[in-house]
């Protein structure tokens, strides 16, 4: 297990290095100038800015300096936010995105497993039809629609009650987190429901479940011990990338609910060609994704011992 873990970690480091290098190359080849703005600056000011951000050096030298600084955990200073360090941006805003993402994934995973199992147990019956209809809605309707609808509903509910049941936007209390995390997790929950349903349908007709039934085990025990545990494996597989995707993809939900997460910096940096923030957030998110995939692989090995043997 230790050798397996180490092997995965080394692969992870190489992947992160590749992400950083590819992002660096792509970023420098995107048309546009990170120092340009609405109003042109004089050549003298431009020269000073190039010196400040190290853009006066050859690209290869910039790359080596950047990689060296990155190894020391220094992502540099933002080009667009006055004198703000990229490390500070990540440190201040990632926890917000992470909390939102974790809540969303908990909601998505619990809902997905429950609804998926239910649809499989009631295959082709009314609960299955209703849930699968909602699942198609959840997959096909983009999150910004759910976000806008969720917020509008809150405004109307608060107006109807005459007091603030849940805040319409903002961040800071548990009340602020509930609706955004539900909205953010809906798409993933719908996806996991479908996955769980097909996985469960396979398990329901398997030999070991038939054997368990023939032994006369109670249905609850068959469901929990034999069906659910085996059917949940594919869900765990996609859970890692889903956590990373939800945590990094909450930009729209963060925007609508005025949540100070990292998502908006990630998107704005690309639009504004903020080199250091693009690099910092991409490498950080890349490393996070790689870490989550490795973590899930290790959990998978623990849940299914055959993986370790292989």
């Amino acid at each position: 297990m230790l050798a397996y873990t180490l092997k995965r970690l080394v692969q992870g480091v190489i992947t992160v290095w590749f992400i950083a290098t590819a992002t660096f190359i792509a970023m420098h080849n995107v048309p546009g100038d990170p120092l340009s703005n609405d109003k042109a600056v004089s050549p003298e000011i431009r020269k000073n800015l190039e010196e400040k951000y190290g853009l006066d050096k050859p690209v290869m030298e910039q790359y080596l300096i950047y990689m060296g600084n990155m190894l020391e955990g220094d992502f540099g200073i933002s080009f667009t936010q006055q004198n703000r360090r990229v490390n500070d941006i990540i440190r201040e805003h990632f926890p917000v995105s992470a909390i939102l993402g974790i809540l969303a994934i908990v909601f998505a995973a619990l809902g997905g497993i429950l609804w998926g199992a239910l649809t499989a147990l009631y295959r082709n019956k009314l609960p299955d039809v209703i849930i699968m209809f909602l699942v198609i809605l959840g997959i096909s309707v983009p999150s910004f629609v759910f976000a806008a609808l969720g917020q509008l509903t809150l405004v109307n509910v608060n107006a109807l009650l005459g007091f603030t049941l849940l805040p319409v936007a903002g961040w800071g209390s548990v009340g602020h987190m509930i609706v955004p995390s539900l909205v953010l997790g809906l798409g993933t929950m719908a996806f996991l429901t479908r996955l769980m349903r097909s996985s469960m349908l396979e398990v329901v007709t398997s030999d070991y479940v038939r054997t368990a039934r023939s032994k006369g085990l109670p249905p609850t025990r068959i469901f929990l011990k034999h069906q659910l545990r085996n059917a949940v494996l594919p869900v765990i597989t996609v859970l890692g990338p889903s956590i990373a995707a939800i945590t990094t993809g909450g930009f729209v939900v963060e925007l609508v609910f005025a949540i100070p997460g990292l998502g908006r910096y990630f998107v704005q940096a690309v639009q504004q060609l903020d080199y250091t923030v693009i690099m910092g957030t991409t490498v950080f998110y890349g490393a996070f994704l790689v870490f989550m995939v490795i973590l899930v692989d290790l959990i998978y090995g623990w849940v299914d011992p055959r993986v370790r043997l292989e």
């Binding site: 100038d33 609405d38 042109a40 805003h93 319409v168 936007a169 903002g170 639009q271």
Partner: protein, 370 residues
Amino acid sequence: MSYFDKLMAFSTYLPIREAFFNSRNGRYGADAEDLLYNGPFTMTRWVHGAHIRFEKNELYWDKDRIRLNVIDMPYITSDSNAVLNLFKDGKIAVAGLDAETLDNALEQRWHLNRFNDGSVFFLEFNHRPERLTHNLNLRKALQLVTDPGELVFKVMKLPGNLPGESLFPVWLRGVDGPFRQEYPAPQHRVDFDAARRHLELAKQELGLAEMPALVMLTGDNPISNKQSEYFQNVFKKTLGIDVKIDKQIFKQRLAKMTSGQFDMVMAGWGPDFDDPLTFGDLFSSWNANNRGRYNNPELDRQVRIAQASLDPKTRMDAFAEIQRIIYEDAVILTHYERGVVYVRDPRLQGVVRRAVGTDPDYTNASIVDS
């Protein structure tokens, strides 16, 4: 320099205390404690992207005039629907509106406030010799089919915007009164027949049987989309000219503007200081913001007069001449002067909005009981 005092109110020229700047070790302006304050309010809290709080500055020279103790901004988002929802929920006192949220606000029968933020938006031509738009007759043809009134009232449909008649917006001051009253903008009339005659002349001068498609560079926001599609339709319908819309994100649009990869570009200009020169020198040959590279010695001469003269009448005459040249030479096609529409809690009074300088200004603001 006759506009020196105006320049001194421009934020670029505001002084910084050197000892404080050096004491921040490269973090000047990064957080609330990395700034020095001498205005009516000080920033006491700044959670980036989340929350800003200003409190009355007890050391302000005129502190007895300030009636607001705290200005709290607990939500930061660029989503206009979210902003309107917060206003509906009674959580904020002011909410800006756009075309998307305007109808919603009208349904609520709220009183709308509007003001012009001082900016002028226009279609800027590429005047580089290798471009088709270097040809005056082609530019005149496009000018004669352009109707800013139709754009503002039938296409953009956002109250507050004014049809663009000149590079010099209506709020600028002249010698004794508003510049545009003292020196009205050249009379613009849409004339399709004259436009077609200019187009024929342009084709002859350029040696073309058919006019090739022109590239219109534009931003990727909803307003630019609407405008560019409208003009694409107008130029095709009235002159038979095809327009290829090149939609780019901000930095890439700037890069293409600077390198001249366009025939015309949706552009705009906001004032820096309270003098017509803030617009007047935009198309001088040495101005780096003149990205269409318009070059006219007579316009340059007028700009130099406006920069050097101390006599207000001489300066305003020069600006009037610049205004005339820009229209007659079809340097740009002015589209609109931008208006801002917003709703405000009626209990909040005394907020000053202005085109140049601090906006909005809460120095005289107060909360009155309804």
